[in-house]
């Protein structure tokens, strides 16, 4: 480990001197941490994940929303949805299960009631779109296209909690291709596709989305899980199965970002259990060009801002711009020799 990080340091110092240096003294290196993906420029690579940040306004009195890179709003469908019966959530070790059922106000009310506020922010507004059929996605996008101030769509083809819902798309490369192609054709704004981790090989759906014209990928959504009350022998959540999120899923999500980065050319937004700048940096190094903070927003609303500050500080210390960090994982040339040290 020590040897690997020493090598990173050496190589990045050389780069930084070429890239942003202009012969500036050591203390004055100012890293560039803005990023452009799907044709949209974000002032920093940290966004809040869909379903964990409402429509932004709910956090306005707790944190400075203008310091966020972007806000992904709660999944929107063409028509309002009531959601699942309670209980909908359950805390597990270092994680939580949820089966909300995509309760939302519908595309029209989103435009009327929620978008005007989001439009005033420096943070980019990404609208998460959900449907039961390809026609649903297209219809939702056609309504949202009227919206002023939307920067991109995020297609939710991976929600595990709605029957015959999005995950069917997220599990099948052919269906992924179909819904992405149709959405892309309908969309006035760039399309980010949010992938499901509940597959054997995530690169198959990733490639399918890319082939269908996706501008970027975000991964991952929640992992299907469950919890049982042994005393009563009943499920802890009324939907029986639910999506697992939080720090518990981070290593698996990170691996999927790493694999996907090697399989596609379009930018990746890394999601999964991020609660610190160090977590976010791991995703960036694995190949994500940006990250989303999700579950941590529930228990520590300032997480995304701490992550922004931490990334900036790391880049300053390492004399690196964000672009130099993305996908910069140093894999030892001889893994066998490396492991023999342990």
């Amino acid at each position: 480990m020590a040897r690997t990080s020493a090598r990173i340091k050496a190589s990045t110092r050389a780069k930084a001197n070429n890239g942003g240096g202009k012969g500036a003294p050591a203390g004055e290196f100012v890293p560039k941490i803005d990023t452009t993906l799907a044709g949209v420029r974000f002032q920093n690579p940290v966004m809040t994940a869909s379903g964990t940040f409402g429509y932004g306004q709910e956090f306005a009195h707790l944190i400075d929303l203008n310091q966020l890179g972007g806000i992904c709003v709660k999944g929107i469908s063409a028509e309002p949805m009531a959601g699942n019966p309670p209980p909908r959530i359950y805390e597990t070790d270092s994680g939580m299960l949820n089966a909300i059922g995509l309760q939302n106000v519908g595309a029209k009310r989103f435009l009327e009631e929620k978008l005007p506020f989001l439009r005033t922010l420096k943070a980019r507004c990404i609208v998460n779109v959900f449907g039961y059929s390809t026609e649903d996605y297209v219809r939702c996008i056609e309504i949202l296209n009227e919206g002023d101030g939307i920067d991109a769509y995020e297609l939710n083809i991976s929600c595990p909690n709605t029957r015959c819902g999005g995950m069917v798309y997220g599990n099948d490369p052919r269906l992924t291709e179909e819904v992405v192609a149709a959405s892309k054709q309908a969309a006035r704004f760039p399309v980010i596709v949010k992938l499901s981790p509940n597959v054997t090989d995530i690169t198959l759906t990733a490639r399918a989305a890319e082939a269908a014209g996706a501008d970027a990928l975000s991964l991952v959504n929640t992992f299907v899980g469950m919890a049982i009350d042994a005393e009563t022998r009943t499920p802890r959540i009324s939907n029986i199965t639910a999506g697992l999120s939080g720090p518990a899923v981070k290593p698996v999500a990170l691996r999927m970002v790493y694999q996907t980065y090697r399989a596609v050319k379009i930018p990746i937004i890394g999601i999964g259990g991020i609660q610190s700048a160090t977590d976010a940096l791991e995703f960036l190094i694995a190949g994500a060009q940006a990250v989303q903070v999700g579950t941590a927003n529930f228990y520590a609303p300032d997480t995304a801002l701490r992550v922004v500050a931490g990334i900036r500080e790391y880049c300053r210390r390492k004399r690196l711009h964000l672009s130099e960090l993305v996908g910069s994982l140093k894999v030892p040339e001889s893994p066998a020799a490396e492991s023999s040290e342990h």
């Binding site: 409402g54 949820n98 309760q103 529930f298 228990y299």
Partner: protein, 286 residues
């Protein structure tokens, strides 16, 4: 609403696995209205992610001085029972420890609306089941200042569950207690003596304010309907955020709203009883 780290000033054990936690939180305490709640974050256990929703039981001047007239409160108190992982950790807190506090949250007992309702009526009857008592003290204090006649009906499994009765005594005209094992007060559920009382007072206009487990709420609401009395309920649910964004705490309500569900943390925790759909929803088969 404030999101801050606050020091514990006391965590006093009471009977039956109950505790009274006091924290020094002047800003949040001053902003609190009766019936509101807080989300408490326990530190040092990264595997326990979520904050825990807690009724704000009382506001005091701190340093054991209790509550003085016209002085701004400095401390916030939480009455809780150890029932799971979060409350188990909470019970280990000591004076000087820090907790994360997000408070005050929720709508409380719709002050303006309920005060006018209460004034028009003859009296207010508080009905508490177990730890549900924690949501009712601040409303009772506020109503006592207006001079409205109040009663408390309080039920628990056993006498050790009947915590906080002494705090209500100066505020209410009568306290009616019930325990399932008969160790204190009436034997059985609190809805027994409550029904007898409502039957006796059928000509009067009574506002019921209720907090407790679901079955007890359901029974009390049904009595209120039967005797034509209005009823406010303080609802409880698992919560992810307390901020209205996770939608984890939704309960089914009558008519439109946030779909057919409303958030306990935002539209509640206090609801008019007729707003809530009381029939327990069955778990769907796949």
């Amino acid at each position: 609403m404030y999101d801050e780290m606050v020091p514990v000033t006391e965590n006093r054990p009471l009977t039956g696995g109950h505790f009274l936690l006091s924290v020094h939180a002047p800003r949040a305490a001053r902003a609190t209205r009766p019936g509101q709640f807080a989300m408490i974050q326990l530190l040092g256990r990264p595997d326990v992610l979520l904050r825990r929703p807690m009724s704000i039981y009382d506001l005091t001047a701190g340093n054991g001085r209790g509550r003085r007239k016209n002085s701004a409160p400095e401390e916030m108190q939480f009455l809780y029972k150890v029932v799971g992982r979060g409350t188990d950790l909470m019970a280990k807190l000591r004076a000087g420890d820090k907790v994360g506090l997000l408070a005050p949250l929720g709508h409380g007992f719709f002050e303006e609306e309920y005060l006018s309702q209460a004034r028009e009526g003859d009296e207010v009857v508080h009905v508490a089941g177990g730890i549900g008592i924690a949501a009712l003290l601040l409303p009772a204090r506020q109503l006592a200042r207006t001079g409205i006649r109040q009663r408390l009906f309080f039920g628990g499994r056993t006498k050790a569950d009947l915590v906080g009765v002494e705090d209500f005594k100066p505020l209410v005209k009568q306290t009616v207690l019930a325990t399932e094992d008969g160790s204190r007060g009436h034997r059985g559920f609190v809805t027994g003596p409550l029904e007898a009382y409502l039957a006796r007072r059928s000509g009067k206009k009574i506002l019921l304010m209720v907090c407790g487990p679901w079955a007890m709420l359901e029974a009390t609401v049904s009595l209120a309907r039967q005797y034509g009395q209005r009823c406010l309920v303080s609802m409880e649910n698992r919560m992810g955020c307390g901020l209205g964004v996770c939608l984890g705490c939704c309960i089914r309500v009558v008519g439109e709203g946030h779909g057919a569900y409303q958030r306990v943390c935002t539209e509640g925790p206090v609801f008019w009883a007729e707003k809530v759909v009381w029939e327990r929803e069955r778990i769907p088969k796949t």
